[in-house]
């Protein structure tokens, strides 16, 4: 069982890593999946910070709806 204080250090570092990977990846689908992972980790961090209401909204909107819209928009682009 990992202690809660350690999770508060690991998860923000992972959020920053995922956010940097969004800018680094050249493939658009990979960048969007990294954005989805960032949103999911952000929802987990909201839950650990005793805000389950915001966590449900973040997981519902950030991790599914915006990612679906991004992927639908990328579907209309061409690979070079």
């Amino acid at each position: 069982m990992i202690e809660l204080g350690v999770l508060h250090i690991i998860i923000p570092i992972l959020i920053v890593v995922c956010a940097l990977l969004v800018a680094i990846f050249k493939d658009l689908i990979a960048a969007v999946i990294s954005l989805a992972a960032m949103s999911l980790l952000l929802a987990l961090e909201f839950y650990l910070l005793q805000a389950p209401d915001v966590a449900i909204a973040e997981a519902g909107v950030g991790a599914t709806i915006t990612v679906a819209i991004y992927i639908l928009a990328i579907r209309a682009t061409r690979r070079e």
Partner: protein, 153 residues
């Protein structure tokens, strides 16, 4: 349209997404969540259907002007409930004490009574209706617009 495995799993999982979203809307006054969160969960279920079955197949049974009517009716129900308490004050909770959602909440640690909070559950349902219809319409229009562009190229 995706493969048969994806379609079978999507048609199974849409039930759980719908039930979870409606549970979040219905228990908005007791547990974390509410109209917006539950509506977003239901709309993510619609996103799953659009990805699995393709936007053209979904568009046969889910038209965006029907979703527009649903969204407007959600807003009208919310405003109507707010005007319902206008005899005393705007947004007055006129259902408290009646038999519909009008019980007095129990104090101390308890499992929660669903029949409390007066007009708040109805307002959660109205907001949930508006959010799920609005987000589903955005996703559907976005999917249809990108398929049209694919055909043109």
């Amino acid at each position: 349209m995706m493969s048969k495995i994806v379609r079978t799993m999507a048609s199974l999982l849409i039930l759980f997404a719908l039930i979870y979203g409606l549970y979040i809307i219905m228990h908005g006054h007791l547990t974390p969540g509410g109209g917006f969160q539950g509506g977003a969960v239901v709309a993510s279920g619609v996103a799953l259907l659009i990805v699995a079955f393709g936007s053209d197949n979904i568009h046969k049974s889910l038209k965006e002007h029907h979703l527009s009517i649903l969204e407007s009716s959600g807003a009208l129900i919310f405003i109507g409930l707010a005007f319902g308490g206008l005899a005393i004050v705007f947004f007055y909770n006129f259902l408290v004490g009646s038999s519909i959602f009008g019980h007095i909440p129990p104090s101390g640690p308890n499992t929660g009574d669903i029949w409390t909070a007066g007009v708040i559950p109805f307002m959660n349902i109205a907001v949930g209706l508006k959010v799920l219809a609005g987000l589903s319409a955005i996703l559907l229009v976005m999917a249809l617009a990108t398929t049209v562009m694919e055909v043109e190229e």
